[in-house]
Symmetry: C2
Subunit: 729 residues, 2 copies
C-alpha cells in the first residue's frame, strides 16, 4: 500500500464555465486555468464568438414554455392554470360573499372566466367538509365574488377556483428580486393545448436552426413550474418545490379521466389548501394524477429531445424551475431519452439526486456559490461558501460521482477575488482526480443495504432536504439531515415506500430500515403505520435479525393504545396526552455502548428534537437524555436491534453516531472498522477493483487519524485541512 | 375609608387539631394557642380521654371498606376487582402464550378465577383492534397464561382480564413507603356484594355504639379507591386520582346493563390500556358507567350517612382515597346527605374544590405540611411549606372561603419547631379574621363570568391540577396552572363542557371562554372541535362581542385544512407538518398593548410551551415570541376578541398577564382598575355588602402598591411581607 501522489499529468475537462459579454480574454484565462471543456450562455447572455470557438462544447439554454412570448401574449387563454383556494370565510348571516382573490397577487393570477365555474369550481363548507351544491352559489364576474346562499351560520366556507397564471413564476421571482421595473411580464403557455404544443415544437426547430454552434440544448426545464404562489403584497405565500399546482387545467382534468377512468375533483388538487405538498400523506387520487402528468410530460419532453437529437445536439435537462412531471427517479423519466441532467448543488445529498439518475450519458453539478453580487461584494467571503459546498459535495461524490461540474453567474465578479479563482482551480483538479481514480468502480460498502422508508420511496430519494429549502420549513429538518449524513456513508442506500413493503415485502439485501420524520407527514408515514401488513412485515424483518432506526416521530400514529406503532421494536414511546398516568422510570444506561463511543461532548444536539419520549421500562437502553426525555435509545427485538434518536443534525459527532447506530442495529458492528478512518472529521472510501482508497478530511483543520485498511491493517496519518488523500492498496 | 386594625377581640374556633397518644398536655396547649374547637384521631391513634373532654367536637375516622378485616379476609371472593390489560405480546408463530400478570405486582392482584374468563375477559389483536373469538384462546389456571391459537404472525395481542385486589392500595402505599414489614395486608371488600354491604352497615352501627364521644364520623372515604396499579417490582405503574378502575366487577357490569339497557365490554373499562384516565376524551360508555357508579355509590353512602345521623352524629367525607363515585360537583353527590367535606390543600385551586361544594353545612381544609418526618426533620424548613400553602390557599379563600381549617400529623413533631407553632397560630387568626370579615358576603367580581371549557365541565371543576399531581405528568401543567391563577382572581368562574354547549348553548352571563390543554386530551377537547354546533356557537359568541382565550393547543384537531379549529378567532395556527410550505410573516407587534403592560421581564416563561405556532398573517397582533414561535397573541373577531398563550405557569407576572387578557378579550379593560392593586405581587378583594376590602401581599417581601378602590379613588400603601390588610369602605 502506498501513497498515491497525484497522477502527475495535469487533468483537464469535465468542467463547464459560465460566460459573460465583453470578458473574452478573462473567460479564456479561466477556461484554461480551471481546465474547462464546455461553456454555457447564462440566462440573458449571448455567447461571444471567440468563446464559442474556444470551447469543445457549447451549452445553450432553451425555455419551452416561455421562450416564445409573442405566442404567449397572443394566446392568453392557453396560459398555465392553477386551482387556488379562497381564504376561509365565516357566514355570519344566511348569505356569504367571498372575494375569492383576497390574499392572492393580482399580477400573478387572473380568474379563469373561460371555463364554467359551476362545472370546474367547488365551494366547500369547511366546518363540515360538505360540498355546496352549485345551485346555492353564483360567481359575479364583475366583482370577482362568489355569493353563497342558504349558508349555515358561523360555518366557514372556501371556494376552490381556477386562475390563469399571467406571470411566469421564475421570471416574476427574478423581476421582483432584481427590481426589473416595467420590463414585460412573461407568461408561460400550457402545452396541453394542441396549438401551443405544436408552436413550441416549431419554435424549438427554429431556435435550433438559429443556434448552429450549440452542442447541448439545456432545457430549462420542460413544461410545468413547481408551485410558487404570492400574496396580495407580492410576497411568497406558498412555495412547494414538488408542487403539481401549476400543472392543472380543465384539459388535464378531462384527459386524466380518459386515462385513469375516473373524474378528479378540484379538492383532489386543492387538498384542504395544502395542495398535496410533500409533507402530506399522498392520496390515491393525487398519486394517480402525478402518474398521469409524468406520463404526459415525458411524452412531450421526448418530442423535444428527439428534435434536438435530429439536429445533432445533446438534450440536457436543468433539474429545477419547470421540472414538475420529470422526476428523474419516476417510472416515466427514462422515456424522455435525455443525454444529461444538470442541477445546482448546495449540499451533499443533492449530488446523489443527480448522480443516481439512471439512463443518462452524464450528470453535471453546478456548485455554490453562484457568481452573483449577494456573495461577491467587497468584504464578502465567497471562498467560505465555495469550500463548504465542495466539502459537502465531495463525500457524496466519493460514493457516486457526477460526471461533470461547473459554476454559474458572472465571471467578472469571481475575478475580483483571486484567492477564490485559485481555489476553484484546485477544486476542479481534485474533482477530476477523484473521478479518474474511482474510474467507474463501485465504492466499498457495508455488507448490507440501508433503506429509508417513507410515503414517497424511490420517487423522492435524496429529496427531503429540498423540501426544507424554501423558507422556514419545520419538521423536515431531521429527514434532510439524515440524508445529508447518509450521502457520504459507506452504505448502499435504497428508498422504499409503504406501498413497496405492502406489494413486495422487504428485499433480502436490506439490513437496516430508517424511518425519520414528523408525525402524520409523508416522511414519517401517518396512517400507513396502521396497515397490518406494513407493521407485521417490519416486525418480522427485525425479529429475524434486521435493524430498525427511528428518528423524530417514527412509526407515529395513535392507534390501539400506542402512538409509536413500533414502540415494541424501538423500546420507546411518545406521550400524546393519553399515557400520562404512567410514571416513567427512564434512566440513563450506565453501560458503555458501541453506538456512543465517538460522543465526546457533554451534550448531543440534534437541532429539532422531539420531546416527551420515554423508555418502555423494559430492556431498552437509554443512552442519552435531553432533560426528562429520551434523546438516544437502543433496543433488542428478537434477533434484531433498533435505535431511536429524538432528531438529527448532520455534524461530525452525530454523523458518526448514526454510522455506529446503523452498524449496531444491523448486528454488524464488527464490520465497521474496514476501510475506516477513526477521526470523526474524516471518512475513508475504498475502490477495490481500482485498487485504491482515499481519506477525506471534512474539516478546515488538520486532523490525525487511524486508517483501518484491508482486513487487519491500520496506520496513523495526519491530513491537511480539507485534504483528500489517495492510497494504492 | 379606613384601615381596619383587626377586631381586637381574639377570635377562636373553626380549627381542627390532630391528636397523639401521650401528648395530652402539649395538645391542650396547642388547642388553646391555635384557638381550636375540634380534635381528630389520626389514623391508628386512639383519642386520650382528657383531649376528648377538652374538645367541643371530636372527629373519628371510619373506613367503610377495610374497617372490618376479619370479614374481608373471610370473604376474599367479595374483594374489590379491576380489569387489567396484559402487556403487548407479539405473535411470532401460529400460537401465542401470554403471561397475563407480567408487569403487575402479585402482592396487589390475584387473577379472578371465579368468573368464567370466556365470559368476562377479552383478547384483542392490537394491530387491527379486532376482538379474538373466545373459541380461539384458553386460559390455563395453573400457569396463569392465556394461549391464543390461529394468531396472525407479527400482530400484537393483549388480554383484558379480571383480578381481585388483594391489598388495599392506601394501606399498601403506606406499608411499602414506611417499611411495615410483615404487618398484615389489608383487603378492601366490595359493597356491590349484598352480604358485604349488610356487614359494612352493621359494622358501622357497632362502631358508632363503641364511639359515644365521637361527634363527627369522618368517612375515609366510601367504597372505591382511585386507581393505583403497581408493577412487578412493587413500584407505581399507573396512578389515576380520577380512575374508576377499582370500581368494576361482574356484578357492576350486570347491574349497569339493567340500569342503562346495554352491556359494557371489558374494553370500555380498559380503554386500550389508558383506563379512561382524565386526559382521554371520555367515551359515551364511560360517561354512562361513571353515572351508574355515582348513583350506586351515592345510594350506599346515603345509608352510611343516615346511620350516622340516627346516632346523632355528623357525617363528614374525606375527599381522597376511596372517593370514586362521590364527585362533589356530580349530580348524585347531594343525595348522600353529608354534613361536611374535608380535604387536604397544597395549592389554591384545591380550596375552590372544597369551598365550592354545594349542599353542605361546612367544608374544611387541611393545610400543608403534614407533621410528618419527611418535613419535620432536624434542619428541615417546615415554615417555608407552611407559608407557601397558606399564601396559595389564602387568595382562593378570599374568593370563596372554606368554613374550617386544620392540620394533620403528629403534634410532637411540630412542637420541635417553635417558630412554626407560632406561625400556625397567626395563620389560624388570619383565617378567622378573613372569614369573619367576609361574613358570607360575595366578593366583588368583574361584570362578566369566565368559563373554562373542556370535556369534563363542572364535574371536574378546579381538578386539573390534581390530574398533574401524581408523578411527572406532562401536558396538563398549563391547565392546572390556569386554574391556580383563576382561583384567586376577581371573576366568577364556571366550568362548562362541550355537551353543555351542544345542549344549552353558551349562558348569557359568560363574558370569556378559556380553552387550555394539550391536543386530543379531554382538557383541550379533541374531536369535540369537529362538532359544528360547538364551533358555530363559539364563533357566534365571539362575533357578538364575547372573549376567547386559548392556551397551549386550544381547539386543536386536524380537520379541513386547520389544526386549531378556531384559528380564525385565535389569529394563530399550529403547524402539524401539513402547512409547512407557507412562509410565515409572524412579526412581533411594535405597538403597546393592554395585555402586556405588566410584563417587565425580558422573557415571558410559561413552563411547558407549545412550539410551532404562527400568526395567520392577517390582523392578529403577536405580542411575544419564543424564538420563531408565537408565545402571546391577541386578535379581533367581529365585535369580540381573543388571546393566545403558548402555555401557562402561575407566577406574579403571568398571573397579571392572564388577568389583563381576560379583561381585554371581554372588551372590559376599562373595568379592571376597580378594587385593584397595581403591584403584581398583590391582589385586592372587596366585599361590598360587608363594606370591607382587603389587600393581599402574595410575596415574602414588603411591597409598595397603588390601590384603586371604589370608582375613582386610589392610594399608595406599603404592605409587609405576606400581609393581609383590611380596610373599611
Amino acid at each position: 500500500m502506498s501513497y498515491l501522489k497525484g497522477n502527475c499529468k495535469k487533468l483537464k475537462g469535465q468542467v463547464t464555465l459560465p460566460t459573460e459579454i465583453g470578458m473574452d480574454k478573462e473567460i479564456a484565462m479561466l477556461y484554461d486555468k480551471w481546465g474547462c471543456d464546455a461553456v454555457r450562455d447564462c440566462d440573458g447572455t449571448k455567447l461571444p464568438d471567440e468563446i464559442k470557438k474556444l470551447a469543445e462544447k457549447v451549452y445553450s439554454t432553451f425555455f419551452p414554455t416561455r421562450g416564445d412570448q409573442a405566442w404567449a401574449t397572443e394566446h392568453k387563454d392557453q396560459a398555465q392554470e392553477l386551482y387556488l383556494m379562497s381564504e376561509y370565510n365565516t357566514a355570519a348571516a344566511d348569505t356569504l360573499e367571498i372575494d375569492i382573490m383576497a390574499g392572492y397577487f393580482d399580477q400573478q393570477f387572473q380568474i379563469d372566466t373561460v371555463h364554467d365555474p359551476k362545472e370546474w369550481w367547488e365551494v366547500i363548507d369547511r366546518t363540515t367538509g360538505e360540498i355546496i351544491d352549485p345551485s346555492c352559489w353564483e360567481f359575479d364576474k364583475s366583482t370577482g365574488k362568489v355569493i353563497i346562499s342558504n349558508t349555515k351560520k358561523y360555518h366557514n366556507y372556501t371556494v376552490g377556483f381556477l386562475v390563469y397564471m399571467v406571470w411566469d413564476p421564475t421570471q416574476m421571482f427574478n423581476h421582483i428580486t432584481n427590481n426589473w421595473g416595467d420590463r414585460p411580464h412573461e407568461i408561460s403557455s400550457d402545452i396541453c393545448h394542441e396549438e401551443t404544443r405544436k408552436n413550441m415544437l416549431k419554435y424549438l426547430e427554429d431556435w435550433l436552426n438559429e443556434h448552429p454552434d450549440t452542442d447541448v440544448v439545456r432545457f430549462t426545464t420542460f413544461f410545468y413550474h413547481f408551485t410558487l404562489i404570492y400574496n396580495q403584497l407580492g410576497m411568497p405565500k406558498f412555495f412547494d418545490w414538488f408542487g403539481y399546482g401549476s400543472s392543472i387545467s380543465p384539459i388535464a382534468m378531462e384527459k386524466f379521466e380518459e386515462v385513469k377512468g375516473y373524474k378528479l375533483r378540484p379538492e383532489d388538487i386543492i387538498d384542504e389548501g395544502y395542495y398535496n405538498n410533500p409533507f402530506r400523506i399522498p392520496s390515491k387520487h393525487f398519486l394517480d394524477y402525478m402518474d398521469y402528468q409524468q406520463a404526459f410530460v415525458a411524452a412531450a419532453a421526448k418530442e423535444c429531445a428527439d428534435i434536438a437529437h435530429r439536429h445533432g445536439k445533446e438534450a440536457m435537462m436543468f433539474l429545477g424551475d419547470n421540472w414538475i412531471g420529470t422526476e428523474p427517479f419516476g417510472k416515466h423519466f427514462k422515456k424522455i431519452g435525455l443525454d444529461a441532467v444538470v442541477g445546482s448543488v448546495s449540499y451533499g445529498a443533492q449530488i446523489r439526486m443527480l448522480s443516481e439518475i439512471p439512463g443518462l450519458k452524464y450528470t453535471e453539478a453546478r456548485f455554490m456559490p453562484y457568481f452573483f453580487p449577494d456573495v461577491f461584494f467587497e468584504g464578502g467571503d465567497p471562498l467560505k461558501e465555495l469550500n463548504f459546498s465542495w466539502l459537502a459535495g465531495r463525500r457524496a461524490i466519493a460514493r457516486k460521482p457526477v460526471d461533470r461540474m461547473g459554476y454559474g453567474g458572472y465571471p467578472s465578479l469571481a475575478l475580483k477575488f483571486p484567492e477564490f479563482v485559485e481555489r476553484v482551480g484546485k477544486i476542479c483538479d481534485e474533482f477530476r482526480e477523484i473521478y479518474s481514480n474511482i474510474d467507474g468502480d463501485k465504492p466499498y460498502s457495508a455488507p448490507f443495504k440501508v433503506a429509508v422508508l417513507n410515503c414517497w420511496g424511490k420517487l423522492r430519494a435524496w429529496y427531503a432536504g429540498c423540501a426544507g429549502r424554501a423558507s422556514g420549513y419545520k419538521a423536515i429538518y431531521s429527514s434532510g439531515q439524515v440524508e445529508e449524513s447518509l450521502c457520504g456513508m459507506p452504505f448502499e442506500v435504497e428508498y422504499i415506500s409503504f406501498d413497496d413493503i405492502k406489494e413486495n415485502g422487504i428485499p433480502e439485501d436490506i439490513g437496516v430500515i430508517i424511518n425519520v420524520g414528523a408525525a402524520n407527514t409523508a416522511w414519517s408515514g401517518g396512517a400507513n403505520w396502521l396497515d397490518e401488513t406494513v407493521v407485521s412485515r417490519i416486525r418480522e424483518f427485525v425479529h429475524n435479525g434486521g435493524g430498525f432506526i427511528g428518528i423524530g416521530e417514527p412509526t407515529a400514529c395513535q392507534h390501539q393504545g400506542k402512538y409509536f406503532q413500533l414502540s415494541d421494536i424501538l423500546g420507546v414511546e411518545r406521550e400524546l396526552g393519553y399515557y400520562l398516568n404512567y410514571p416513567r422510570y427512564g434512566q440513563l444506561s450506565t453501560e458503555e455502548h458501541f453506538i456512543m463511543k465517538d460522543v465526546t461532548t457533554n451534550k448531543i444536539s440534534f437541532g429539532e428534537e422531539i420531546p416527551w419520549v420515554y423508555g418502555n421500562g423494559k430492556d431498552e437502553k437509554i443512552l442519552s437524555m435531553s432533560g426528562d426525555y429520551v434523546q438516544v435509545a437502543a433496543n433488542s427485538y428478537g434477533k434484531g436491534r433498533s435505535a431511536y434518536f429524538s432528531g438529527f443534525e448532520y455534524e461530525p459527532e452525530n454523523n458518526r453516531l448514526l454510522l455506529r447506530a446503523i452498524y449496531w442495529v444491523a448486528g454488524k458492528e464488527n464490520e465497521m472498522e474496514k476501510w475506516y478512518s477513526s477521526n470523526i472529521n474524516t471518512e475513508c472510501h475504498a475502490y477495490l477493483s481500482s485498487g485504491k482508497f482515499m481519506v477525506l478530511n471534512n474539516s478546515y483543520e488538520s486532523q490525525d487519524t487511524v486508517i483501518y485498511y484491508g482486513d487487519n491493517d491500520s496506520m496513523n496519518i495526519k491530513l491537511e485541512p480539507m485534504e483528500c488523500r489517495w492510497f494504492e492498496i
